[in-house]
């Protein structure tokens, strides 16, 4: 994963230690609280969430803006609400 400049965010949720599908349940609830076009930053740990959360977000019409490895096994994901 190449380093990216983090986009400006409107909200952040820390889902480290959470497993699927609760990771996307909580991501979806956080996205519902935002206006369309606003950006949510999601902090995730583990391989499954890093794969599933961006895929589910895309399927529901949100934009995956960027993803970056923050630490060993931890990724930061930026989603723009669709």
């Amino acid at each position: 994963m190449r380093p990216v400049a983090p986009p400006p965010t409107d909200a952040t949720i820390d889902l480290r230690g959470q497993v699927c599908p609760m990771t996307y349940v909580r991501t979806k609830l956080a996205l519902e609280r935002l206006e369309p076009g606003h950006v949510l930053e999601v902090v995730l740990s583990g391989e499954e969430p890093a794969k599933n959360v961006p895929r589910s977000a895309r399927e529901e019409g949100h934009e995956v803006m960027a993803m970056a490895e923050a630490a060993e096994g931890v990724v930061r994901l930026w989603l723009r609400k669709g």
């Binding site: 599908p21 609760m22 996307y24 349940v25 909580r26 979806k28 609830l29 519902e32 529901e60």
Partner: protein
């Protein structure tokens, strides 16, 4: 209203559905259903609606034998339905108790319908199950005429399926996902077909 941590976990499968989400679940939690008829299909629908977090209430009359097996137990037969339902709901899903912001009605026929929320009638025509549903914008007279062709009927496997369909129809109306008025037939073999509506004088006769 925001979902509590317990509710996020309890309704996680609902939240994941694209048509529902957290907002849809909040809507279901704010919707009430009064049980206005009697029968196995209605009892099944009540159990599904309670599991989805709708507020379920019933009028005072004794529990009938065919209503046991889902929320109610055989011991409850002959006891007051209202009190037995409250006890069962407290056990099954406490979210199903309390004050809703809008109330509709679900009844296995013969039953009466009132309230600003969804109306769902369940009944039978021979061995065929039928359900008629109406949202706020549906014509009450067309609903009542169409439901009038149905009567009470058998308990059994098809009652379970009819009750599950009735609960789904009620939830779809509560979520604004459904036509304002419609009906379905459920055949003995489990096939679902649209039902022609028996239109009132002001909406003209169609179908049949």
């Amino acid at each position: 209203m925001t979902l509590s941590e317990d509710q996020v976990v309890r309704y996680s499968r609902h939240i994941l559905l694209s048509a529902l989400g957290g907002k849809g679940q909040e809507r279901l939690l704010a919707t009430g259903v009064t049980l206005t008829g009697q029968g196995a299909a209605q009892a099944v629908a009540a159990a599904y609606l309670a599991a989805s977090g709708l507020k379920v209430s019933a009028k005072g009359r004794p529990v009938a034998p065919e209503e046991t097996g889902f929320l109610l137990a055989a011991d409850d037969v002959g006891r007051p339905l209202e009190a037995m339902m409250r006890a069962a709901l407290l056990d099954a899903n406490p979210d199903a108790l309390g004050q809703p912001s809008e109330v509709g009605a679900l009844g296995e026929l013969p039953a009466g319908f009132s309230g600003t929320g969804p109306w769902v009638a369940l009944g039978w025509s021979g061995n065929r199950g039928g359900l008629v549903y109406r949202g706020r914008d549906g014509c009450a007279a067309c609903f009542e005429r169409t439901a009038g062709a149905l009567s009470n009927g058998p308990a059994g496997a098809s009652a379970v399926l009819l009750g599950a369909l009735g609960a789904l129809a009620f939830e779809r109306l509560a979520l604004g996902l459904s036509q304002p008025l419609g009906g379905l037939w459920l055949s003995e073999t489990g096939e679902v077909e649209p039902m022609d509506l028996d239109r009132c004088a002001s909406h003209g006769q169609t179908g049949r």
